[in-house]
């Protein structure tokens, strides 16, 4: 490692020469320049805007399983160890539990409460709070867990771990970053290491502009190790012997359909059948990313039975029958891709050899077609899946659902939201309805949040622990990229006021300053979302749209 690299402070912005040194130290970046996909000068700028040097010490946790990813790490020096598998009851000082969410501090909470009693002016700022310059990367290493010697001995004794080999450890964390999802495994520094840490924005720039980078990620993502970690994400398979998992991974195939960037036009990529009813099933189908709709032919149409998200399984009943009778597996339902769908297919011979009928995962996403009678298939409660899919609400993890049979339009929810947010309520009590369900226009903190993809200042990010999508007011420059990308119009641009209540106008252009605002799920408030707490009639709930039983309950409650 060059002397210059040794002198670079952790998390400090990189100078030109320092960025050059980083390019020389990371093989992938050298290859990108060598292929002519980016010039050294442009890559330098990318690093200066979107990367810092990170120096985890021995035992420092770099990535924590289950936390939401925002950064990718390029290894420059040192060694990283990955916890490949842990026993179900393994708990190590919060290694696998998300830290409890607390408010900024008690004084901050009291300040927020006090403002509810004052005359409120929405979106007031003290001018001079300062916006960060566009492009500045805030990559501080907050709240890193440091494992003690005994912690590490315990991990080595009870968990399955491996040192990341030279080639594979060149890049870590890219899967969760690109999918804006949870980290698949915990990685810590085996000894003092030096990493180049790049944020989401920088990674996307490289991904879009460099075929070399894309190919490398594709190779990694289809590697047996990655497929093994995907398999471990399915509870029924996580407990399998590591050798069995490795064999399953080696035999499995990863298939990607549609476009992950389905952005502002939620139905643009549309729905295409991926497995048709009546087709031969060549294996067990696991959903590793994206969304799928499951349907069955009825008369001249396709009746929706349900939808699938990451972690769901398709084809279990058919495979079970095949294993029992030796007849070919024929799909009894159609699986459609909804915008984007990634499937992991375990071929039938591998299923037969390593799993058998007794160890198959549960068919969690939809009802068994054979079990449905005509009434269940055709009539109202089964249509809720259609409502969710056609409005692309299946993405929502914390959607605001209002029971119209209970809502009296009292606006207590709106008032509560305004009380917590300086007089500006962060949602609109309107949206697509189905029978007595209304899904309001409030951020759903999606499973796959497309709004994160194009922010020029990294103002909109996903909280590592809670998974909530948040906007940093200080960094937001009001460009509106996130608002345009949100398929549900849940992000709004609002004008900023000074303490006299006047609009703040940009001196150079004469245009009012605007900022993006949206529901932040009352992040930091111990009591949780104020809207749900405030509703006196139990009409408003925040729910995961995959929880169809909860939605069905809302549909059928109020029976006398």
């Amino acid at each position: 490692m060059s002397k210059l690299l040794e002198q670079i402070a952790s998390y400090a912005p990189l100078s030109e020469t320092q960025a050059d040194a980083c390019i020389d130290a990371v093989q992938m970046l050298r290859e990108i320049v060598a292929q002519g996909e980016y010039t050294r000068a442009s890559l330098r700028i990318i690093l200066q805007k979107h990367a810092v040097v990170d120096r985890p010490v021995s035992g420092e946790v770099v990535l924590r399983k289950g936390a939401y990813g925002g950064d990718v790490y390029f290894r420059i020096a040192g060694e990283l160890r990955i916890i490949v598998g842990a026993p179900d009851n393994f708990r190590l000082r919060g290694l696998y539990d998300a830290p409890k969410q607390v408010s900024d501090d008690a004084a901050g909470l009291l300040r927020r409460m006090a403002q509810a009693f004052k005359g409120l002016r929405p979106e007031t700022r003290t001018i001079g709070d300062g916006d960060a310059s566009p492009g500045a990367a805030d990559l501080s290493g907050s709240r890193r867990l440091l494992l003690s010697k005994s912690d590490r001995e315990l991990i080595l004794a009870e968990c399955e771990t491996t040192i990341l080999p030279e080639a594979d450890s060149a890049i870590v964390g890219e899967q969760a970053t690109l999918a804006a999802g949870a980290r698949l495994a915990t990685i810590y520094a085996e000894r003092d290491s030096v990493l180049l840490r790049m944020n989401w924005r920088g990674v996307r720039i490289l991904f879009k502009g460099s075929a070399t980078f894309r190919e490398e990620l594709k190779r990694k993502n289809t590697s047996a190790k990655v497929i093994t970690s995907i398999l471990r994400g399915f509870p029924a398979l996580a407990g399998l012997d590591p050798d069995v998992l490795a064999e399953l991974a080696a035999a499995s195939m990863l298939e990607t359909h549609g476009d992950r960037d389905w952005g502002a036009s939620p139905k643009a990529a549309g729905e295409l059948p991926v497995v048709r009813e009546g087709d031969h099933l060549n294996g067990l189908v696991l959903v590793s990313a994206g969304f799928g709709r499951v349907s069955r032919r009825f008369d001249a149409g396709e009746k929706t039975l349900g939808f699938l998200r990451r972690g769901d399984v398709f084809g279990v009943a058919e495979i079970k029958e095949t294993l029992a009778t030796d007849k070919p597996a024929v799909a009894s339902r159609t699986l459609h891709m909804v915008n984007h769908l990634q499937l992991l297919i375990i071929p039938l011979p591998a299923v037969r050899k390593h799993l058998g009928a007794d160890n198959l995962p549960e068919d969690t996403g939809t009802q068994e077609a054979a079990a449905l009678d005509e009434a269940s298939l055709l009539f109202p409660s089964s249509d809720v899946a259609d409502y969710l899919i056609s409005n692309r609400l299946i993405n929502g993890k914390k959607a605001m659902v209002i029971d119209l049979n209970r809502c009296v339009n009292c606006d207590d929810c709106v008032r509560a939201c305004a009380a917590v947010h300086g007089g500006n309520p962060r949602f609109v009590r309107a949206g697509p309805t189905y029978m007595n369900i209304l899904t309001a226009s409030a951020c759903m903190h999606c499973t796959e949040p497309v709004c994160l993809t194009d922010c020029p200042t990294d103002a909109i990010t996903r909280n590592e622990d809670s998974g909530n999508v948040l906007i940093d007011e200080a960094k937001c420059i009001g460009c509106g990229a996130c608002a345009k990308l949100c398929p549900y119009d849940n992000i709004r641009l609002v004008e900023i006021r000074d303490e006299q209540g006047e609009r703040v106008i940009k001196a150079d252009s004469g245009v009012p300053v605007v900022k993006a605002t949206k529901c932040d799920y009352c992040e930091g408030l111990p009591a949780g979302p104020a809207c749900a707490r405030a509703c006196p009639h139990d009409a408003l709930k925040r729910m995961d749209m995959a929880d169809q039983s909860a939605l069905t309950k809302v549909l059928s409650q109020n029976e006398v």
Binding site: L109, R112, M113, A116, F117, L404, N405, R406, C407, V408, N409, C410, D412, R415, A416, C417, A419, V420, R429, A430, T433, M435, N436, L438, C522, L525, P526, A527, A530, A532, R533, A534, C535, P536, H537, D538, A539, N558, E559, V560
Partner: protein, 270 residues
């Protein structure tokens, strides 16, 4: 628990509470304490607690029980207050007592009516599609504009004068602002049926294309009537608060006056 079962349980609990209060009054009398003073204090404390419900908007988002829990507590305390009132108050005498008595009855009655309305009306609105009261004026304006566009094509034609007259004399006044509040409040659809009858009458005079237009106009009128209905329901759901809340404030004030006069003119009763 289903609604009727809950109602039965709540009624039983209230009866039990009334029995406990009656027993407490009896014991107090045996100990030479004034049951009226005790029930009065009990009632005053309840009224104050009930009035604090109005502060929930400031505290609730940050701490304490949820809005649902608070409303349930408010309802139960209100029921208990009615029981306490029945024990405490006989027939009122004099201006102060009569006013106090009337205010309490007003608050209690408006509360019970409000509770019934908030349970009954949302389901009615949900059944026909709740547009949200903030959007109703926009939707109404859109319907009016659409109707105007539909009729505009017929203005120049000599054989559609009946349609134009239908629009000018019946539909445009109907579409331009909220109508028929009292009819909707009493669940009458007479005005809409009259309008539909008028459209049916005009249809007989028109050709095929004209009849098609008339049908579209009728659909717009029906949509607008639905919006009027929703608006009426929202107004009714809010109207009772304009009695309940101010009356509560006045009641609290007069309670303090009553308290002062009771102790000011008492002869030392405990």
């Amino acid at each position: 628990m289903r609604f009727l079962a809950r109602l039965a349980v709540n009624a039983a609990l209230l009866a039990a509470a009334a029995a406990v209060l009656a027993a407490a009054g009896h014991i107090a009398a045996a100990g030479l304490y004034s049951p009226v003073h005790l029930s009065g204090w009990f009632l005053l404390v309840l009224i104050v607690l009930l009035a604090l419900f109005g502060l929930r908007h400031r505290i609730l988002p940050f701490a304490g029980p949820s809005g649902t829990v608070l409303l349930q507590a408010h309802i139960y305390m209100g029921a208990l207050a009615i029981v306490g009132f029945l024990f405490h108050s006989g027939w009122p005498e004099g201006l102060l007592e009569t006013t106090l008595w009337t205010l309490f009855v007003l608050v209690a009655a408006s509360g019970v009516i409000g509770l019934a309305l908030s349970r009954a009306i949302p389901a009615r609105m949900g059944a026909i599609g709740d547009h949200g009261d903030a959007h109703i004026p926009q939707l109404r304006a859109r319907l009016a504009l659409r109707a105007e566009e539909l009729v505009a094509s017929s203005l120049a034609r000599g054989d559609r004068q009946s349609l134009v007259a239908l629009y000018a004399y019946r539909l445009r006044p109907f579409l331009e602002k909220p109508r028929n509040f009292l009819h909707h409040a009493t669940l009458s659809d007479a005005p809409l049926r009259r309008l539909q009858h008028d459209v049916a009458g005009v249809k007989q005079l028109l050709d095929d294309e004209g009849r098609e237009l008339a049908d579209q106009l009728r659909s717009l009128a029906e949509e607008k009537d639905t919006l009027d209905y929703q608006r009426a329901m929202v107004l009714i759901m809010r109207a009772w608060l304009f009695i309940h809340v101010p009356a509560t404030g006045a009641l609290l004030l007069l309670c303090l006056v009553h308290l002062a006069s009771v102790y000011g003119y008492s002869i030392g009763d405990r």
